[in-house]
Point group: C2
Chain length 406, copies 2
DNA sequence: TAGGGTTTATTTAGTCCTAAACAAAGGGGA
DNA sequence: TCCCCTTTGTTTAGGACTAAATAAACCCTA
């Protein structure tokens, strides 16, 4: 009922870092305009960041009709973040700079259903961090396929991993003595998209991922919508038909049971496009080669996705839909049927909703997870809670050691 | 990207009025707890409200282990708000006290498709206001079936009314010289529910209305979700089948084309339950009397609604669904099939989502619209913009005229 | 009846932000 | 060359909120 004072908004400082990281140096006035805050506040925030050693004045002065701007740039040695993607059979790690760029990545086999998976993950993480650059680790962001109570405590429920109330965040915090932020993988991706991607220019958008599963990250008024129990965005389980195939959630006819990777492969096998051991790459190759049964499978998937998302668009009224995920490698075969199904199921006034498909890379999931660290280091009482404060503490402590003696 | 300072949070003051109005007198400490703000702020806010003459100290002192509380109550003569419901063939007005209670209501025939409907509405509104109580009118809230760019400017698009870019808010502001807030009718209802209803105790909920159309008001983290163009919540146009009946939006197979009032009546006529001129009351009566064809029609509607809302629940993860609208008069016939369809289409972890059906009255729509005025009088730069400031100005000016000479 | 515990209310200091006034540093035209 | 205009950056005053200390008013028990 009552509005709180905007989640301890030192988030702004990481927004400055993100902006400079993604777009290169800028003046204070530019930053104030882009980030939509007052110039006065920008002066203040940049003063802090300069004092903390995270920013530097670049002394450039290309005049532009008035007083020339003093450009500000990131001090890239101030620190880096670790991003982790956890799935059933492996984990992927990335190390990203303070500007969000990937510096290093790795992938390791992992068994999420093992009884000692927490210990194993700790070991793998320690090893990856040990092999890293000399700049300080600001924190660890972890993306999981499932719902998370809140980013700071990191209590995970995941049908896909077979996890129930797993204290992932708390355990890793204790073991590694570093700030750890856990979030649903799609929400993490939405956060990254908001900071570094197309979402930077939009306040209301949808990040839809296709691949093994189907999910959505929802950004409303600039913030990721988590819902009551942190489980918003499960669009893969929107019911599509009354008596469809059984889904991993136990119900019948979910969207994911039609267009998830497993479902597409099953269709391909019954249609004779694939043998018993062919995978998604083979199916994509078949479609590329003009196999009509293969293109039909993708086309049907596009159609189903389009109709289901029409419902979501009617519900949320986003400005743009961003499609991501492993499944986008074959997007050209989904695209046409998707567009037709989506637009024709939308009310006339919504037909202009934009659709963007971004370049997908193997490490994108882990990179998204790292954005958790870079996005919330200062947000002391928001999503990240205590962990945000810890990240900030590390940043200041490492980059301005000369102040430690005072 | 950057968080603003929580929408000029004098909203809190109207929250205090709403709380006291709905729940009777309370102490400052109680208010601080219920509204979740610091006692310090409560002292400050109530000081202002007392000075403005909107609150009075009741000098009561029922002790409770410690220092006895000084209760605060609303000065109900400080002003009232007008709520207006606009539909195709009539308008309904209510006058509500500063505590949200309905003082007076009226309904007038109206033709939204007439070329002079703006002038007619002005006349009707003037007449209703003139017949009202002597306390000052704080503002006018208007609920329309359609999307509104923002509450302050009140530019309306409505397929149902045949309106395109109608400057409803601006026109009435000019003609009546009063603050006017325009909002989608379901969003207004959600706001009222948040202030006075079940939603007071929840931060994430869904208000679903059934009647002529089907709509949803979405409240996330305590605020009404409006979407990019103010059109969120159009759940009536979620596609349900590929080749269903034609909907008012022009598409086929929308939820509303199955369970809207017109669709139910059509089904009843083809099933022979109703003659050519029977209405919803007759259909409800038939079901009450045990007519199995009639109960089956409601049951099917409940089933369809349940499945569609399962998708919405997966998308938004609300804590509770509140069902409202004219259609709830026959809810007992929807209920069973609805519950079964909803729960069985939900993932196991979501099955506990609560469903509440609130008592529906004729004037509820208009009452919801009035909540716009009572909820946003102080929110100077939020949804209501200028109009919010104007409401506040009227409140202070009217209730503390002795300060006018200073 | 004095003192400790509780609950209520206010004050104080401080954070995060804005708006508005101001200062600083250029450009270009009369 | 001087003045005006534009853009950048800073300072100042103030609003909205919080946490923590304090005061105020009651209860109960020893």
């Amino acid at each position: 009922m009552v509005f709180r004072p905007a989640a301890r908004t030192d988030v702004n400082r990481s927004a400055i870092l993100a902006q400079l990281g993604a777009h290169g140096p800028a003046s204070r006035a530019d930053l104030a305009r882009v980030l939509d805050v007052s110039p006065a506040l920008m002066t203040q925030l940049t003063r802090d960041l300069l004092a903390d050693g995270l920013l530097q004045e670049l002394e450039q002065a290309p005049s532009q009709g008035g007083r020339p701007a003093r450009m500000l740039g990131i001090v890239s040695t101030a620190g880096h973040a670790i991003g982790v993607k956890v799935v059933l059979d492996h984990v992927a790690f990335v190390e990203v700079g303070i500007d969000g760029a990937v510096l290093r990545s790795a992938s390791e086999p992992f068994d999420a259903s093992s009884s000692t998976f927490l210990a194993e993950l700790t070991v793998l993480l320690r090893r990856f961090i040990a092999g890293g650059s000399s700049t300080p680790v600001l924190g660890i962001g972890i993306g999981v396929p499932g719902s998370v109570d809140n980013q700071g405590s990191g209590l995970v429920d995941s049908a896909q991993l077979g996890w129930s109330q797993v204290p992932l965040g708390a355990t890793l915090q204790r073991e590694l003595d570093l700030p750890v932020l856990v979030e649903n993988n799609v929400n993490a991706l939405a956060m990254a998209e908001r900071l570094y991607g197309v979402g930077r220019r939009h306040d209301n958008f949808l990040v839809v991922t296709i691949g093994t599963g189907v999910g959505a990250g929802i950004v409303v008024d600039g913030a990721v919508l988590r819902g009551f129990s942190g489980g918003a965005g499960e669009v893969g389980h929107i019911p599509v038909t009354e008596d469809g195939p059984v889904c991993s959630c136990g119900n019948r006819g979910c969207l994911e049971a039609y267009i998830g990777e497993a479902a597409l492969l099953r269709s391909a096998r019954t249609a004779g496009v694939l043998g018993a051991q062919g995978g998604m790459t083979a199916l994509g190759a078949a479609a590329d080669a003009g196999n009509t049964a293969a293109t039909a499978i993708f086309g049907q998937a596009g159609h189903r996705l389009g109709r289901a998302l029409a419902g979501v668009v009617h519900t949320l009224d986003p400005e743009i839909i961003i499609v991501l995920g492993e499944g986008t490698s074959a997007w050209k075969h989904w695209s046409f049927a998707f567009e037709v199904a989506l637009r024709s199921a939308l009310m006339p006034s919504r037909r202009q909703v934009a659709v963007a498909v971004e370049n997908w890379q193997d490490e994108s999931w882990a990179q998204g997870a790292a954005a958790l660290v870079l996005a919330t280091p200062f947000d002391s009482d928001g999503l990240a809670g205590d962990q945000g404060r810890l990240v900030r503490a590390r940043l200041v402590e490492q980059s301005a050691p000369q102040e430690a003696g005072s």
